[in-house]
């Protein structure tokens, strides 16, 4: 079908798609998210194509870019899902493909060695939906990811897509805004500002032109849910934006995408074109007289461009520097016109809220934070990936039940949330519910939803230094507290990690942090102190160990550690000696080896190659 001319026609089109769809046709879904591609999913997909062609099977192999977006369980990629059997195979190699085709696709049996195995009970869990990583999830923003082909608008429509828009177009704009308000949806991009309130303020400003924008800059260096949504379900973002545009009275939208996400840019572009062809974007959408279109803007690789005013300046074709906070972008945003800017995940929630209603959405989550949130659970945890759960789940549940606990049985030490603007929360507070307000109270932030698990081998001073270093690099230099204060904090932290810290350093750090929080112009600066203050607050003893005892308890800070070989564990295999770039390991074959610490540059190669775990750091 070409252009869809009315809401009724859209429903009819959906029925037609459903009638011709063959739900029982075996389908092989190969994940083509960034993570799985890096693990070799392209080779796996090719192997499927070949064997299926060879055997002339009636299988609709959903592969190539036509496959699904990221299932979120990248750790175990390449992932292959089989439908209608609902089987998920992990870490699939091209060699495994003939067996999968023979046993499962044709024979309906399970290839046991490729399915999930419970680490404790050792039971196998072949069903996708039963795997603990997925079982505890509730997917709204990620509702289609991994199940539809993101480059097919028909797939999206068949799965119920654009039904939220159809419903919205029959509502008064005012009623849409109050629906979103009552749902309690808060922005997923960091600050958690109520979305409905933002829309209302924008709609209230008297203006001939208004813009709606999507923030896909995803600057937090440990989060990738926005990437996954833009790659895996681009129409959800587009549909959300059309609804928002109709509600506030906008004719033009922009999606600002991080330059490092080429697949997201490609899939969004394809989706926008497909929506135009179907009459879901452009003039006279679904014959309702409402017109709206979307342009894509590629970011330039600057973290500060995720900040709303900087993002707008960047879209206009300028250097992306933030401007004074008192100018509100809902009144004077892009080209000085009233503008609604929302995050990718925020937009992806909108169609579902309209379709299923505010009460449905508000029934999930906590008092102040409704609905679900997508987290990227990474770091020292067994199951890493994207996880969507109701707001209010505790840190411990997330790390232990879904994350499967800390990697290698090590001790759980802390989680870092909120990226460079957030902070570290210690294990003893792990029963804290994860929602906007609890995290802020604990000195951290929700941020974009990055949850980084840290174990006993993570040095908290190093973490604070890492984030400060990141922000020093990314500061635009427009205001003094941030331009001059941040590097000073970085220097102090460097001195501590290099064993040159003094007792006064901690007070000096706290003072500088205070200055930054109150004096900086934009959110980058005002929240830059969080990583430092939260670690000083919860891990003061670790700072003191660096300062007083000149020791790094986690064995991370290079200036404070030495490498040695445990003579008991060393088998004298010589591997480390062969690989040491300094040639500073000596010893006879089959005898314990020794490191000449005066020459050692602490490169970690010996520890990395030793198969007997004989290299020690102290």
């Amino acid at each position: 079908m070409g252009v869809i001319n009315s809401i009724e026609q859209l429903e009819e089109y959906r029925r037609e798609l459903a009638a011709t769809a063959k739900p029982d046709l075996p389908t092989v879904l190969v994940c083509f998210g960034t993570g799985c591609q890096a693990n070799g999913s392209r080779l796996v997909a090719n192997a499927f194509m070949e064997i299926i062609k060879e055997q002339g099977l009636q299988v609709d192999v959903n592969i190539g870019i036509k496959t699904t977006g990221c299932h979120g369980y990248c750790e175990n990629g390449p992932l292959v899902a089989l439908r209608p059997q609902d089987i998920l195979y992990l870490k699939v190699k091209p060699e495994d493909v003939p067996e999968i085709v023979e046993e499962s696709v044709k024979g309906g049996r399970i290839v046991e060695r490729l399915v999930y195995r419970d680490k404790v009970t050792d039971e196998i869990v072949p069903r996708y939906s039963e795997i603990p990583f997925y079982k505890h999830q509730l997917r709204i923003a990620l509702r289609h990811i991994g199940t539809i082909d993101p480059t097919s608008i028909d797939d999206y429509i068949l799965a119920g897509g654009y039904a939220g828009l159809a419903k919205a177009l029959r509502m008064e704009p005012e009623d849409i805004i109050s629906e979103v308000e009552r749902s309690g949806l808060r922005g997923r991009g960091g600050a958690g500002f109520p979305t409905g309130t933002k829309w209302r303020s924008c709609a209230a400003v008297d203006s001939d032109v208004r813009y709606v924008m999507c923030n896909g800059d995803e600057g937090d260096p440990g989060a990738f849910m926005d990437r996954s949504i833009m790659e895996g379900d681009p129409h959800a973002v587009i549909e959300g934006m059309i609804i928002g545009a109709y509600a506030v009275g906008s004719r033009q939208g922009y999606i600002y995408v991080r330059d490092e996400y080429p697949l997201a840019i490609r899939n969004l572009t394809t989706a926008i074109e497909a929506a135009r062809e179907k009459g879901l974007l452009g003039e006279n959408i679904l014959g309702t007289g409402f017109s709206f279109d979307i342009k894509i803007s590629r970011g330039g690789g600057a973290f500060v461009c995720g900040e709303s005013s900087a993002l707008m300046r960047s879209v206009e074709g300028n250097v992306g520097e933030p401007r004074a906070k008192y100018i509100r972008s809902v009144e004077r945003g892009l080209y000085n016109k009233p503008t609604v800017l929302n995050n990718v995940e925020t937009w992806a929630n909108v169609p579902e809220i309209i379709l299923k209603g505010a009460e449905w959405y508000a029934s999930m989550g906590t008092e102040g934070s409704k609905g679900t949130k997508v987290f990227s659970l990474v770091g020292k945890v067994n199951n890493t990936g994207l996880v969507e759960v109701p707001m209010g789940i505790s840190i411990r549940e997330l790390v232990e039940n879904i994350g499967g606990g800390v990697l290698g049985g090590k001790k759980f030490k802390a989680v870092q949330t909120g990226g460079p603007s957030g902070g570290c929360i210690p294990e003893r507070l792990a029963d804290l519910p994860i929602d906007f307000d609890s995290l802020t109270e604990a000195g951290s932030m929700m941020g974009s939803g990055g949850i980084i698990v840290m174990d006993e081998d993570t040095c908290m001073v190093d973490v604070a230094k890492y984030f400060t270093g990141f922000l020093v690099e990314e500061s635009c230099g427009k205001c003094t507290p941030c331009r001059d204060g941040l590097p000073r904090i970085y220097d102090l932290l460097t001195e501590v990690t290099e064993g040159r810290g003094r007792e006064e350093h901690l007070d000096m750090l706290e003072e500088l942090c205070d200055l930054l929080t109150w004096g900086a112009l934009c959110g980058l600066g005002t929240s830059a102190a969080n990583p430092v203050l939260s670690t000083v607050k919860y891990f003061r003893d670790e700072y003191e160990a660096h300062i007083r005892d000149k020791k790094c308890p986690a064995g991370v800070c290079k200036a404070l550690i030495t490498y040695s070989i445990d003579p008991e564990a060393c088998t004298g295999c010589r591997l480390c000696a062969k690989n040491c770039p300094q040639n500073c390991i000596t010893g006879k074959r089959k005898e314990a080896h020794v490191i000449d610490t005066s020459k050692c540059i602490k490169c970690g190669v010996c520890k990395d190659v030793c198969a007997f775990d004989a290299v020690r750091i102290s």
Binding site: T34, G35, Q37, A38, N39, Y73, C74, E75, G77, G219, D220, P221, G222, A223, F224, R227, S228, D259, E260, Y261, K295, S297, R298, G299, G300, G301, A302, F303, S314, V315, E316, G317, N318, V319, G320, S376, V378, G379, K380, T384, G385, Q416, G419, G450, I452, M454, T458, V463, Y466, F467, F470, C476, N579, P581, C603, G604, V605, D608, V609
Partner: protein, 159 residues
């Protein structure tokens, strides 16, 4: 130097510029396409863009220095990017970076003397589950180890 003379041929810039609307909104995208095509933003390109768009060259230079995706100096034939996002940092990215700096004899964000490699740091490339991640000419390599990273680079570059 041969490359320089080729670039002076303005039609190569015009072909890119013509893909976009004549609007300041297109500046960043055009500069990024320059970067992709030439592996840096050539001075001649900035001058041409300024001429065609009627925008002061100084403004375009300012963008060239502000945006990290753009570089005003030529890059190496191969680009190695070490992910220094949070997950990668915790799982050993600093050691990967140091190893590459030492073995290639180049500092981060620098290019080797023979023009073969540019070594860059990038923030999270969205594959944290495979941390630490190293990209060689945009090909992802997960779980890289200091002892193996040079082998990976050599293997890929030499094919």
């Amino acid at each position: 130097m041969k490359e320089m003379t080729q670039i002076q041929d303005v039609s190569r810039f015009d072909r890119i510029i013509d893909r976009y609307e004549r609007s300041e909104e297109s500046l960043l995208a055009i500069l990024q396409d320059f970067q992709r095509e030439f592996h840096y933003v050539p001075e001649e390109g900035i001058r041409r863009l300024s001429e065609v768009m009627g925008v002061p060259a100084s403004k375009i230079y300012a963008m060239g220095t502000f945006y990290k995706a753009l570089s005003l100096t030529p890059r190496g034939r191969h680009t190695i990017k070490v992910c220094t996002g949070t997950a990668c940092h915790l799982k050993g990215a600093p050691q990967i970076l140091e190893t590459l700096e030492r073995e290639l004899r180049v500092k981060r964000n620098g290019t080797t003397e023979d023009g073969e490699f540019t070594l860059e740091c990038v923030n999270c490339v969205g594959a944290c589950a495979m941390a630490p991640v190293t990209l060689v000419d945009e090909v992802y390599h997960g779980k890289t180890r200091p002892s193996k990273v040079m082998d990976i680079v050599r293997k890929q570059v030499e094919g």
